[in-house]
């Protein structure tokens, strides 16, 4: 009888194609929406965290406070004083200029980092070395964005000479490397930018103050406690500088801030997921209830012809389970597929994360809604006398 009932249920599903499809759709949407929204939260979090970790080692940055424009720059002596700490202080200068190749010209943010302290990552070509630094070689590393905007597609930028215009003076630089693009979120390696040796910077930027820095980025190894280091940096600089003439930021601190943002993001997406689940559930309920009249007559007829109550219930149970489970599976497949598509399309997302609990929950709630609202009206109809059920309107 059970096998017969499976056949009956499947036949019933096929003979009421529209109703079946709509119910199926309700489940698909419910499962799909919940799985994608909640998983997107986790994936975005991982993307952001990964992005920050890509930033390399931990970093401490000291800079003159924005509200104290007259605070003195940092000097080589400051760097010297800090150098006994377990960190590498980068000597950095920046300015803006124009880069020209052939008849194309773009605006370029230019930064200079000394060869011994640079941590620029190269995708192609090479980074400048101590020798370039010593001879103030006119060599430049460009970001991929700059390469794209400055050169035609079929031109290999490596070895090409470009003209930099800085403060009205022109200098020819040779492109020796292309920077690795680590993602868009923090803007590392993106935008139209170029990096050159520090000595070259001093030789082409007439107004550059040699040995003075507006900010000092410091690389710290991952296993070093940044908080301890920050207080040491602070005490050293406090002895050397006026009170309140500098601020300290750490990448570790950024991670914490992003942690909070992603938590908010996840709860928002979770909320959207819950709402979609509710909407999907109501959709399922609606279709089930709309078909109650028709189905009540069917139940009356089946009973009139000798079906026992539990046989009818079994049929409706099988129908509901088959529909919701198929719908759930389709929903999960769609969800997983779209998550992969989204991750492939969005640059700073790099890993598809799907928590099995999310799938189980989405699946469970949809299937439960389908079964409850499929079986409950059926159970009511099956308790009527066959004639009452046949007459139901």
């Amino acid at each position: 009888m059970f096998l017969e009932n499976i056949r009956t249920a499947i036949t019933a599903l096929f003979s009421n194609r529209m109703r079946s499809l709509l119910t199926l759709l309700g489940v698909v949407i419910g499962v799909f929406a919940v799985t994608t929204t909640i998983s997107m939260g986790a994936i975005a979090t991982a993307g952001i965290t990964g992005e920050l970790e890509d930033f390399g080692s931990q970093k401490i940055i000291v800079f003159t406070p924005r509200d104290k424009p007259l605070a003195a720059n940092f000097t080589d002596n400051d760097i010297e004083a800090l150098s006994r700490l377990p960190l590498i202080v980068q000597k950095v200068q920046d300015t803006a200029g124009f880069a020209k190749y052939d008849d194309k010209e773009i605006q370029l943010s230019l930064s200079a980092v000394s060869a011994d302290t640079t941590d620029t990552k190269i995708a192609r070509g090479r980074i400048y070395n101590e020798q370039d630094e010593a001879y103030a070689s006119k060599v430049i590393i460009l970001t991929q964005d700059a390469v794209q905007n400055l050169f035609d597609k079929d031109v290999d930028p490596l070895g090409k000479e470009i003209t930099l215009t800085i403060a009205n003076s022109r200098t020819v630089f040779t492109v020796i490397g292309i920077e690795e693009k680590s993602g868009g979120l923090l803007g590392i390696g993106t935008g139209d930018a170029g990096t050159i040796p520090l000595s070259s910077f001093y030789s082409v930027v007439p107004y550059a103050k040699k040995g003075e820095y507006q900010y000092l980025p410091m690389q710290v190894d991952l296993d070093v406690n940044v908080d301890d280091l920050v207080s040491q940096v602070k005490s050293i600089l406090e002895r050397r500088r006026e009170k309140d003439s500098f601020s300290i930021n750490t990448i570790k601190g950024l991670l914490d801030a992003f942690g909070n943002i992603t938590k908010i993001l996840q709860s928002i997406l979770g909320g959207i997921g819950a709402v979609s689940l509710l909407v999907g559930g109501i959709g399922i309920l609606n279709i089930m209830l709309v078909s109650v009249t028709e189905r009540t007559r069917e139940i009356g007829l089946r009973k009139a012809l000798g079906a026992k109550k539990n046989v009818i219930m079994q049929q409706f149970m099988i129908e509901a389970v088959v529909l919701t489970v198929i719908g759930g599976v389709i929903g999960v497949i769609f969800a997983v597929a779209s998550l992969y598509l989204i991750v492939a399309a969005v640059p700073f997302l790099d890993k598809v994360i799907i928590n099995p609990m999310v799938i189980i929950m989405a699946f469970g709630v949809s299937v439960a809604t389908g079964i409850i609202f499929g079986v409950w009206p059926a159970s009511r109809a099956a308790s009527l006398s066959p004639i009452e059920a046949l007459r139901f309107e």
Binding site: M1, G306, S385, P386, L390
Partner: protein
């Protein structure tokens, strides 16, 4: 002869939404002997369908006692009633009541499924029943692809397929032309000769004359029961156009 149907003081009261009570059956007594072939006649609204539904265990009386083959129906559970409807009674509804999205064959096979008949055997029996009512070429049709008379014949085939010993028919020839109607009456005659009990609601005296008795109903009670003197005999040729 023993009586297969014994109804005493049957009342059926419908309560309408406004609280108004409709007495469809008003203390009706009826005894039908085993193997009897009887017509139920009466004006519209006199309670014929209501009576037939109660006799067919499709509905329960509000009051009174109904014994089917000696068994008090009120003592039976829902599932036992389902069993009786399935095994003993063939019911032909006035409104056919076919499953709209199933074929004629599936409709006829349905009660056989609930009795546990295997699919192959089920289809064979259903086919046989459909052939008997002249619908061999309409087995794959759904009800909305059939004429009123054809639907009625599917409903008859469904009642016959289970080989019941009581056949209850609510205006089985109501939608048929006289030639097809005569064929169905011939079929009923055959079934009667096989020893089955047949109760048939009809509005036509001509049709009722094929039965042994006419039970006349008025206002929810049996007015009188007549023996049919000039009984007509229809023969089943199996030749339905």
């Amino acid at each position: 002869m023993s009586s297969v149907i014994e109804a005493r003081g049957i009342k059926k009261i419908y309560t309408l939404e406004g609280g108004l009570k409709v007495h469809a059956l008003n203390g009706l007594d009826l005894v039908v002997e085993d193997g009897q072939y009887a017509a139920i006649m009466g004006p519209s609204g006199s309670g014929k369908s209501t009576l037939l539904q109660i006799l067919g265990c499709l509905d329960v009386p509000s009051e009174g006692s109904y014994k089917l083959a000696g068994q008090e129906v009120a003592d039976l559970s829902e599932d036992e009633l389902s069993g009786i409807r399935n095994k003993r009674i063939g019911f032909i509804f006035q409104a056919y009541n076919l499953l709209g999205r199933s074929t004629a064959l599936q409709n006829v096979a349905l009660p056989l499924m609930y009795r546990g008949t295997k699919a192959k055997e089920r289809n064979r029996l259903a086919k046989e029943a459909l052939e008997r009512v002249g619908l061999a070429d309409r087995m794959g049709h759904q009800p909305n692809q059939l004429s009123g008379g054809q639907k009625q014949r599917v409903a008859i085939a469904r009642a016959l397929a289970t080989d019941p010993d009581i056949l209850l028919a609510d205006e089985p020839t109501g939608n048929l032309d006289s030639k097809t109607g005569d064929e169905i009456l011939g079929l009923f005659q055959e079934l009667h000769e096989e020893g089955r009990t047949i109760l048939m609601v009809t509005h036509e005296e001509e049709v009722a004359k094929h039965c042994q008795k006419i039970i006349r109903i008025r206002d929810g009670v049996v007015e009188r029961i007549e023996e049919v003197k000039d009984r007509q005999m229809a023969t089943f040729t199996g030749d339905i156009p």
